[in-house]
């Protein structure tokens, strides 16, 4: 009896709250519904990883197969290859990207005036083009017959390469392209961080007769450390999410270089649109989503320990 009246009161109170907040809730409703359909419905589809999907039977009609998709996936060479490539490339992009951007930002900070703006704008240019166009640009360099790189090689008496048919070069080409495209953006993030440092530190240091390298090493870098660590960890949190465009358009989707270019995202895409094993794709997609959640939540946990303010949630 007592409990009943308590829940009754609770409902009554919540109902009053609900009526008070109803109008704002209505405003939020379109967005909520959109997210429900576009983001939350597909989460239900993750069960496909444990089913044998047939287009005519749909997601719910298809037969349950337990862990068969996973056993099949890990029996093939593909699984190891795409997971390894995804992790290693992302790790390379994150570390290289961080180091280059940090050095650039520190050096940029030593300069002043108009030149900084010009450098920034120039470095930002690749950010504005789509990865499809990046594919065109790399094609102009790598094309086997007339590509610029082979021209240069031949001029110096070297053998031309069939870049798209080889596996080794991509280990260097892809990180290079990734840096080229992203350096303007990431430099700016750190540069903005440096500009945010209180100028009093520098004035005090100057009075004490500190040199510019000293100020860079003793003030800028230590104060920038939390930002660097945070962005690095958050980057690692997303390590299971591959850069589809980079790995699809730059190696030009040529099967012969898949050993060093294929990542989870390109594999899944091919399985969906070309002839491919959709069940393995569903299984690896499931792994990507679940492990990705784990890595991001752990990354966030780490960030919270470095600096509570900067954590995502």
């Amino acid at each position: 009896m007592k409990l009943g009246s308590r829940t009754g009161r609770w409902f009554k109170r919540e109902w009053i709250y609900f009526r008070k907040n109803r109008e704002l809730l209505v405003l939020a409703l379109p967005g909520i519904l959109y997210k429900l359909v576009i983001s939350y419905f597909p989460m239900v589809g993750l069960i496909l990883a444990f089913k044998f999907f047939r287009y005519d039977q749909g997601i719910f009609g298809s037969r349950w197969v337990g862990f068969d998709n996973f056993t099949f996936l890990f029996k093939s060479q593909d699984a190891l290859r795409i997971i390894r490539n995804t992790l290693l490339y992302n790790f390379a992009y994150i570390t290289l990207g961080t180091v280059v951007a940090l050095v650039f930002a520190l050096l940029l900070n030593e300069l002043s005036g108009r030149m900084v703006k010009i450098y920034q704008t120039t470095m930002f240019l690749p950010y504005f083009i789509s990865l499809v166009l990046v594919g065109y640009i790399t094609y102009a360099f790598l094309e086997h017959k007339s590509g610029y790189l082979n021209n240069v090689l031949q001029n110096f008496g070297f053998e031309p390469h069939k870049w798209y048919f080889e596996t080794k070069p991509w280990i260097f080409i892809l990180p290079l392209v990734s840096i080229w495209k992203g350096v303007g953006f990431s430099t700016l993030v750190y540069y903005a961080g440096i500009l945010g440092i209180n100028s009093e530190y520098y004035e005090a240091a100057k009075l004490d007769g500190a040199s510019r390298p000293q100020m860079m090493m003793r003030i800028t870098l230590p104060l920038l450390k939390p930002l660097v660590i945070i962005l690095f960890i958050l980057g690692l949190g997303g390590i299971f999410r591959g850069d589809f465009g980079l790995h699809y358009f730059v190696p030009n989707n040529v099967g012969m270089n898949f050993a060093t270019t294929d990542i989870i995202d390109t594999y899944v895409y091919r399985a969906l649109t070309k002839l491919g094993d959709i069940n393995s794709a569903a299984a690896v997609g499931f792994l990507q989503s679940v492990v990705g959640l784990v890595t991001i939540v752990s990354a966030n946990y780490l960030v919270r320990r470095v600096d509570k303010e900067s954590s995502l949630f």
């Binding site: 576009i38 997601i59 450098y119």
Partner: protein, 296 residues
């Protein structure tokens, strides 16, 4: 601040460093431009070079004589960019506003509900099957517009702005008997024009450069946006030779259809305008980055 001799030479050194970096970053663009204005004969004979052996505008001439392919691509891209941006801006503001209101009882759960999708998603396979098998959106304009309508990142930018609007003016509007809908439409939206401008820029940028949804959902010739057109030109060797452009080349009495230079010329005509326009708005991108980088 007077510069010491050492400082000045350090400055020279750093400037030289950045000039080299900037040159390296720009060179790839120049190569594409150079290829597009090189005659096909010299491309075949000497390969792609930064300094054309013989300059020729045949590629551009062919495209301008038969601009239908290009214009169609532009048409679809402009259409989805305009429609998508308008709807997306409104929807983003509409979603960001309630969760920026601290007195809104469901603020926290809805915020979590929206941003959780940044951490976890169903992945491509279920999304693709849902869009094509359940909603039958393959080869429709809607398939190009819907997936980009509401990104948590954009909500974050909008929310960051709305957080700064003082509660007092909202309270006083409520005192005067205004409904939440009216407050949003007649007060919040007009107040947020600067934020909406930044948002519009980001969203239109995303639509303009989007190739992923087109790659997934378009496989006929009806709604091919620019980016997908470029994908097809690059990945299907015979695409250009089978296009109306080949006839145009015939009309101009070129012995061979200049596939190599036309390809790069298409890339320039498709990507060039944005490369000129977007840098003017760089400052807004920068602002978005500084908002997003820490709480992204």
């Amino acid at each position: 601040m007077p510069l010491t001799k050492l400082d000045r030479s350090a400055n020279y050194f750093i400037n030289a460093f950045f000039i080299i970096v900037c040159a390296l970053i720009t060179l790839p663009f120049l190569l594409v431009i150079a290829v597009s204005i090189t005659s096909e004969d010299s491309l075949v004979q000497y390969g792609y070079r930064f300094i054309p052996h013989s300059i020729s505008f045949e590629a551009f001439r062919i495209i301008f004589i038969e601009p239908s392919i290009m214009l169609k691509g532009y048409g679809v891209t402009i259409l989805i960019t305009v429609i998508g941006t308008v709807i997306a801006m409104f929807l983003t503001a509409l979603t960001a506003y309630p969760i920026s209101r601290r007195d809104f009882r469901y603020q926290r759960p809805i915020t979590f509900y929206v941003f959780f999708t940044m951490l976890f998603n169903g992945g491509l396979v279920p999304f693709y099957i849902m869009m094509t098998q359940y909603f039958h959106l393959k080869n429709t304009l809607a398939a190009l517009i819907i997936p980009l309508l509401l990104s948590p990142y954009n909500i974050l930018i909008m929310k960051g702005f709305l957080d700064k609007i003082s509660m007092e003016i909202i309270e006083s509007a409520k005192m005067d008997g205004a409904t939440e809908k009216r407050i949003f439409l007649q007060m919040i939206l007009p107040l947020s024009t600067p934020a909406l401008a930044t948002l519009g820029l980001f969203i239109s940028f995303a639509y303009w450069n989007d190739w992923f949804t087109a790659l997934l959902f378009i496989d006929n010739d009806k709604y091919v946006p620019l980016q997908l057109l470029l994908v097809r030109i690059l990945s299907q060797i015979e695409f250009l030779a089978n296009s109306p452009l080949a006839e145009a080349a015939d009309k101009l009495q070129y012995a061979n259809f200049p596939t190599l230079s036309v390809r790069m010329a298409m890339a320039i005509l498709a990507g060039g305008p944005m490369l000129i326009i977007f840098p003017f708005f760089q400052k807004y991108f920068v602002r978005g980055i500084t908002v997003g980088s820490l709480k992204g």
